[in-house]
């Protein structure tokens, strides 16, 4: 740089101001980094984020099969608008006439049974009306065959049920809140939204059970994992590396292998019960198909996720701290509680949050060893999805669960940082 430019901006070799060319270089670096990340980002957005998004949409979309309700029943949706369920009377003739038109169209595309199934989630029993009425309605002449109210009532007197019509009216838009109402154990009757009877609030019970059991399992992994992690951190590296294999092998072993191992061990005629009898006891223990089985198996499966973060934190605590505390007169307990334990809380937080997040979403282990009272919310989602075919409710329950998990994930990110997750 020459003396003449001392007062002006500092220039780089190519004559541009230094600040400008540094900014340019920085921008190039950023773009290069983003270009490297972009393919994966696009991949994850398409294969993972979009599916999650479509599940969220499913929880509010009002569809039967793949079509929206207003597209399948355009006339009914318009006609029923004017009818007020609170009046206590069945809908007027024009609603029945609209139903006759839409039913005939639906029958031609074979979607009348799907419509019936859709409304059956809201008003149990209605699906048989749709199934029965499809064929007769397709043979009616809309201009001459009226009035249709009687014709429908001739097929099934259920067509006069106000509750059924109220369910159709409440779910006649493109979007519906009925799946979320069901997921919250609420219902929509003729007189508005109300909570179900306490003994019918199954999802509330299931959510609480899922959270409660996950908390208990987290506590069990902490109680078992803490001493082991401490021992590992305390032993000479050569020994602890050997013992660490005992922790890592279960970590690497297939989840199904571990679950089936527990299923085989814990069953009525299994190894543990046979050993128990051989000890001289006469009554076999029921260890499986209940909550106990889930706790035993899931604590085993999630234990490495607790031990590994604890171990990596404990490894960094100098053993001289404990010795110093003791030489200053602390008892063994005080030295542990006041000096060692506070330094391990970061590891406890990381391990406990990870175990809890993973436990809340467990499906396979509760499904196989949980029996009736050890199932989690995931199992119910799977049931609604695969067995009942009520995709909307499955999606609404999934959305609630996703919210819980994402809040925990956010807390985990704040406390531990997602880039601090360690494997093995």
């Amino acid at each position: 740089m020459s003396d003449a430019t001392l007062d002006g901006p500092v220039l780089s070799a190519d004559g541009k101001p230094l600040k400008q060319s540094l900014n340019l270089a920085l921008r190039r670096q950023k773009i290069r980094a983003l270009i490297l990340i972009a393919p994966l980002l696009v991949f994850v957005l398409v294969t993972f984020v979009a599916p999650i998004g479509s599940m969220l949409m499913r929880s509010v979309q009002n569809t039967a099969g793949t079509d929206y309700i207003p597209d399948l029943m355009p006339n009914v949706v318009v006609a029923i608008e004017a009818w007020d369920p609170a009046s206590g009377e069945a809908p007027p003739e024009d609603v029945y006439r609209a139903m006759a038109i839409d039913m005939a169209t639906a029958f031609e595309s074979k979607s009348h049974t799907q419509l019936g199934r859709r409304f059956n989630y809201e008003a149990p029993g209605i699906s048989s009306l749709f199934r029965k009425s499809g064929r007769p309605a397709s043979s009616w002449d809309i201009e001459t065959d009226g009035p249709f109210k009687e014709k429908f009532l001739d097929i099934d007197s259920g067509w006069g049920n106000i509750e059924y019509w109220a369910a159709i009216k409440a779910n006649s838009g493109y979007y519906t809140s009925s799946y979320f109402l069901a997921a919250f154990d609420a219902q929509r009757g003729v007189d508005g939204i109300s909570m179900k009877e306490p003994d019918q609030r199954i999802y509330q019970k299931l959510m609480l059970r899922t959270l409660g059991l996950s908390l208990l399992i987290t506590f069990c992994t902490l109680a078992l994992g803490y001493p082991v992690a401490w021992l590992l951190a305390d032993l000479p590296l050569r020994t602890s590396n050997l013992l660490l294999i005992l922790v890592l092998l279960p970590f690497w072993t297939s989840l199904l292998v571990r679950t089936s191992a527990w299923k085989i061990l814990l069953q009525e005629q299994g190894v543990i019960n046979n050993f128990w009898i051989a000890l001289g006891f006469t009554e076999r223990l029921s260890l499986i198909n209940n909550q106990l089985g889930v706790i035993i198996a899931m604590t085993h499966i999630l234990l490495p996720f607790m031990i590994l973060p604890l171990y990596s934190v404990m490894k960094t605590i100098p053993p001289s701290y404990l010795r110093a505390a003791k030489s200053l007169g602390a008892s063994n307990w005080t030295a542990f509680w006041r000096v060692y334990f506070p330094q391990t809380t970061a590891g406890i937080g990381a391990g406990a949050l990870l175990v809890f997040i993973l436990a809340v979403g467990y499906f396979i282990t509760p499904e196989l060893v949980g029996g009736a009272d050890g199932t989690f919310i995931s199992n119910r989602i799977y049931f609604q999805f695969a067995v009942s075919g009520n995709w909307g409710l499955a999606a609404a329950l999934g959305t609630l669960m996703l919210v819980v998990v994402l809040i925990l994930y956010y807390v985990y990110d704040k406390l531990v940082g997602v880039d601090n997750v360690k494997l093995g």
């Binding site: 490297l36 990340i37 979009a50 305390d234 922790v247 199904l256 191992a261 234990l303 997602v418």
Partner: protein, 294 residues
């Protein structure tokens, strides 16, 4: 707690020292016992899930390879073998996708200036956190009609399962490769560039050999994730994509056949092999970095 008892330890300290070790021993037993017990049980000559008297007497009559022969189709049922083959098709493809895209992204993420680094990392790790049942249900909806086009449908195809498994394996690749890269000395790439190597040459001749252990570990994690995955296969796959875990899950839920013991043993052996590889790689890279050999 000390790793050795000092000679001046009091009786109380001695008792505590040994009690603590026994407690830890019991936890180690709890961790490893269910996995190891499967192995001898799988050589059972009978169709039982417990040790027969003949096995306890160590009578050779009590042991056989029956369940392994059944796995290979000796009883005329080739479904296990078919499932195993499907697993061996899906897992490597998913791993390949996850590793190639994941490594590139990990390199990008460890650059000194990345806008939204934290948010992007959180997004890329989330497949590991979101419960599988949610992911799978969403994938079922989306893969049946991607962006509303059912002609693009991937539900019930190998491609769909491979893509889904790749997405699930990505967090593991990102975690292991960024961990390796964080200890990578960037002046090496600058030195290579300085001596005239273009970015591609620098990557393959300088950076790649050094981060390879991390990439392989991440790949093995991605492999085992896919190899062990059930829920996605249940929902996104169809009868044509039955994998080994799928077959095990169905078998365990309905009538439990002792062939599962043989399959479980084979899977345990595979995980021991994978674990050994990962541990050897880890120690090698620690040695290279001049850390203690362990």
């Amino acid at each position: 707690m000390a790793s050795k008892l000092p000679p001046y330890a009091t009786t109380g300290q001695r008792i505590w020292f040994y009690t603590f070790r026994v407690l830890c021993g019991l936890v180690f037993f709890y961790l490893i016992f269910p996995i190891l017990i499967i192995i001898p049980l799988s050589f059972n000559a009978e169709n039982f899930f417990t040790f027969t008297p003949a096995m306890l007497r160590l009578d050779p009559e009590g042991y056989s390879l029956k369940h392994y022969q059944d796995f290979l189709g000796a009883n005329g049922d080739y479904s296990w073998l078919q499932a195993f083959t499907n697993s061996l098709i899906i897992a490597p493809l998913a791993t390949l996708l996850a590793v190639s895209l994941g490594t590139l992204a990990a390199i990008g993420l460890t650059q000194p200036h990345v806008p939204f680094r934290k948010q992007i990392t959180a997004l890329l790790i989330s497949p590991m956190i979101v419960p599988l049942i949610i992911t799978s249900a969403g994938m079922f909806f989306f893969y049946s009609r991607p962006f509303g086009y059912s002609e693009l449908g991937l539900q019930g195809t190998f491609a769909g399962v491979v893509l889904a498994h790749a997405a699930l394996g990505i967090p593991f690749v990102i975690i292991t490769v960024t961990a390796t890269l964080s200890s990578f000395d960037n002046s090496l790439t600058r030195a290579a560039a300085n001596m005239g190597a273009d970015p591609v040459t620098t990557f393959f001749r300088v950076q790649m050999p050094l981060i390879l252990p991390g990439v392989i570990s991440g790949g093995l994690f991605a492999f085992i994730t896919s190899f062990d995955e059930v829920v996605v296969v249940l929902l996104v796959g169809s009868a044509g994509q039955k994998t080994l875990p799928w077959q095990m899950f169905i078998g365990l839920r309905e009538q439990i056949s002792p062939t599962i013991l043989a399959v479980a043993t084979i899977l345990v052996v595979i995980s021991i092999a994978l674990l050994t590889t990962v541990e050897l790689l880890r120690r090698r890279s620690e040695r290279l970095r001049g850390m203690s050999p362990g």
